[in-house]
């Protein structure tokens, strides 16, 4: 029975690995699903908002180390909140200056935000340098948790998982249980009619975009616990994230969760049998094949056009 428990331990750790990938994907995809699913805007600079969150966390960590060492163990919570607001504020500005002028031309938003992402990447490079940086993790995030001898689960993974559950819950509450969420959903279903009943759709759009960017910022903060941050850290994930959103069905949060889960688990399961790059090729190809058979994604709500 020895081999069985060993196999179980490996399976559990591999499954947990998949869960970590799932969390980063989901945190990124949540912001994107709000922006793309609810507003129909393709934000190619979404990855850069993640990078903003990651750099914010890094700056907070450096500042704490230098000026307020006693705050060390708790700085991470402040960093998460700051990441949310800084990324959200920049998102608000971007919507005001750029996106709001392009709502009639979705393909053009894609190109314009790609230009924005180039500018932002170069700005990161000018400010923080081309080298990757990493925030100093508080002690309680390091090390691992061992439920049995053979199983070894890293604590930072657990933390990211907790954060993901919390963020998902909050977004669900905001979208489905608040007045603002009601306005957002009304605007998605029928913009003209929403305007007629007195919803300020412009403001709703701006807040939605800012919220989506803020969530990406939080994803960035979570990202620092797993890897180091470089100017192009966020752009590496952008295509995967878009596929997650499209695969899940653009305007369904439940679909986003389900698709992030299946893509992440498929990826890490296949990595067990073949090289990482081939696992990625197979996962992405499978997603595209399924999308060809079912273009509306896994879950979709019917909207009258």
């Amino acid at each position: 029975m020895e081999w069985l428990s060993e196999f179980g331990a490996i399976a559990a750790m591999q499954g947990f690995n998949g869960l970590s990938v799932f969390c980063v994907l989901l945190l990124m995809a949540l912001g994107l699903a709000i922006i793309f699913g609810q507003m129909g805007v393709i934000n190619m600079a979404h990855g850069e908002f993640l990078t903003i969150g990651a750099y914010t966390t890094y700056v907070v960590s450096v500042l704490t180390e230098q000026y307020a060492a006693f705050f060390g163990p708790y700085y991470f919570f402040l960093a998460i909140v700051l990441s949310f607001f800084i990324a959200g504020a920049i998102g608000w500005l971007v919507e005001w200056a750029m996106i709001s002028k392009l709502y009639q031309r979705p393909l053009d938003t894609l190109l314009a935000t790609w230009g924005l992402s180039l500018v932002m990447q170069q700005a990161f490079r000018s400010i923080f340098g081309a080298r990757e940086v990493s925030a100093t993790l508080p002690e309680w995030l390091m090390g691992s948790w061992n439920p049995t001898e053979a199983i070894d689960i890293p604590r930072n993974g657990l933390f990211v998982m907790g954060l993901t559950v919390l963020m998902t819950g909050m977004i669900f509450l905001m979208l489905y249980r608040s007045r603002w969420g009601l306005q957002v959903r009304a605007t998605v279903q029928n913009r003209v009619m929403s305007r007629a009943v007195g919803i300020n759709t412009k403001r709703v759009d701006r807040m939605t975009f800012a919220l989506g960017c803020g969530v990406a910022g939080v994803a960035g903060a979570a990202f620092t616990t797993i890897g180091s941050t470089g100017p192009t850290a966020g752009s590496l994930y952008i295509v995967d994230t878009f596929l997650v959103v499209v695969f899940g069905g653009a305007s369904s949060l439940l679909g986003t969760i389900a698709s992030a889960f299946s893509i992440a688990q498929a990826q890490s399961l296949m990595e067990f049998f073949m090289s990482g790059s081939m696992a990625k090729v197979f996962t992405l190809s499978a997603v595209i094949l399924i999308l060809m058979l079912r273009p509306q994604g896994l879950f979709s709500i019917k909207v009258r056009k």
């Binding site: 129909g40 393709i42 750029m98 002028k101 392009l102 709502y103 009639q104 031309r105 979705p106 393909l107 053009d108 894609l110 190109l111 314009a112 790609w114 230009g115 924005l116 992402s117 180039l118 500018v119 932002m120 990447q121 170069q122 700005a123 490079r125 000018s126 998605v188 279903q189 029928n190 913009r191 003209v192 295509v239 878009f242 596929l243 499209v246 090289s275 790059s277 081939m278 990625k280 090729v281 992405l284 190809s285 997603v287 595209i288 999308l291 060809m292 273009p295 909207v303 009258r304 056009k305």
Partner: protein, 390 residues
């Protein structure tokens, strides 16, 4: 004028624009530039093939493909595979543990030429494959997507994902494709050395003539009924469908044409530059190719050529002299073109250049000859409105 010829040339204005571009590419550049710079212009012109294809499928057909690099790359790889096999004959590779196979295969402990490479010993097959492989892929993607009425944004994202998949695949299969370095050290084409200056000049002219061929085919497509249908589909797809046209097959056709153009560009790239690597296949190069078309003017075939030349020249110049500034400029250009000049240089020429030319003509009897940027009249200078709001 003969009506068929008229269709190709696009009327008097089209003929003048074409003549100006031909003078620039066939006479001015070869006389004014040294061999090295001319080879660079030739490289830029291979991107112009992609941009011309994008004008057809994006500007007129409304299909934004973010995966044109895939077709460019496939065309280039087909040509590079043939050239590589010729460069690795048993004589020149005798120091390898297995002579007669490409060097990177030897480094990856491959002892036998893979089946995929076998047919590329034949030049005829290679020429066929350069066009056929990308077109078949485009056909499969097109049939799968357009028959199911997947359009717009979804199509862009899926093509982008395909670009990512192909890059990862090429880099991952090192023994088969040369990995991240690509296929390098291409020397001869059927015994003809492609590296010395005189053969580079010949290749430049072959490239230029092929480009003009593509432009003329593009003109012909746009002037025919198909061109008008494309525009109608872009603006009111449902109405065209209700009129009884099979929208999907037109889209598939124009997407395949764009893929074929890109593939020719890719093959000429491999011939002129002497290597092919995954860095011309992925997401970033594919989007850059869209920018060439956008800067030149998404509605102008000739504008796309100018766009490819200008953006690439700017890229070379700025990344040599101010590497820091380049990405800011490129990003800024992207944003500015999309937001304020949706019809690019061609649109600016239409709205300002002509007036200025007219003024100049009135002022002096012998006007200085400005460089007309494009002459295909943009049918609607307003940015097109897509039906996207629910």
């Amino acid at each position: 004028m003969n009506p068929t010829l008229d269709k190709f040339l696009g009327g008097k204005q089209g003929a003048i624009g074409l003549a100006v571009l031909a003078t620039l590419i066939l006479v001015v550049f070869p006389l004014a530039l040294d061999a090295f710079r001319l080879n660079m212009v030739g490289k830029y012109l291979t991107y112009a093939f992609v941009a011309v294809g994008l004008v057809l499928c994006w500007g007129y057909g409304g299909i934004l493909s973010l995966g044109q690099g895939v077709f460019f790359g496939l065309g280039g790889y087909c040509m590079a595979m043939f050239l590589k096999l010729e460069a690795s004959d048993p004589e020149s590779t005798k120091i390898q543990s297995t002579p007669g196979i490409p060097d990177f295969m030897d480094w990856n402990q491959i002892t036998e030429l893979p089946l995929l490479w076998q047919p590329f010993h034949s030049f005829g097959f290679t020429l066929l494959a350069v066009i056929a492989v990308p077109v078949i892929l485009a056909l499969v993607i097109g049939v799968a997507m357009f028959k199911r009425r997947v359009g717009d944004v979804y199509f862009s994202i899926v093509t982008q994902a395909i670009a990512l998949i192909l890059t990862v695949l090429i880099i991952g299969q090192q023994g088969l494709t040369g990995g991240v370095n690509g296929i390098t050290d291409l020397k001869t084409l059927m015994g003809w050395d492609i590296r010395d200056d005189s053969s580079k000049l010949i290749l430049y002219f072959i490239n230029a003539f092929l480009l003009f061929g593509c432009i003329l085919i593009g003109r012909f497509i746009l002037a025919s009924k198909l061109g008008r249908l494309l525009m109608a589909m872009r603006d009111k797809e449902e109405r065209v469908r209700f009129s009884g046209y099979d929208v999907a097959s037109f889209k598939i056709f124009v997407f395949c044409v764009a893929a074929a153009f890109s593939a020719i560009g890719g093959a000429m790239f491999a011939l002129q530059v002497g290597f092919m690597s995954p860095s011309f296949v992925g997401i970033v190069p594919s989007i850059e190719m869209v920018i060439f078309a956008a800067v030149g003017g998404r509605m102008s075939l000739l504008g796309a050529v100018y766009g490819a030349l200008l953006v690439n020249y700017g890229k070379t110049y700025f990344s040599e002299t101010f590497p820091e500034l380049w990405l800011y400029l490129m990003g800024g250009l992207f944003i500015a073109v999309v937001m304020y000049f949706p019809n690019g240089i061609a649109g600016l020429w239409e709205s300002h250049g002509r007036k200025w030319l007219g003024k100049l003509k009135r002022q002096s009897a012998t006007p200085a000859k400005p460089v007309p940027v494009a002459t295909v009249p943009a049918p609607n200078s307003q940015p097109r409105e897509l039906e996207s709001t629910p």
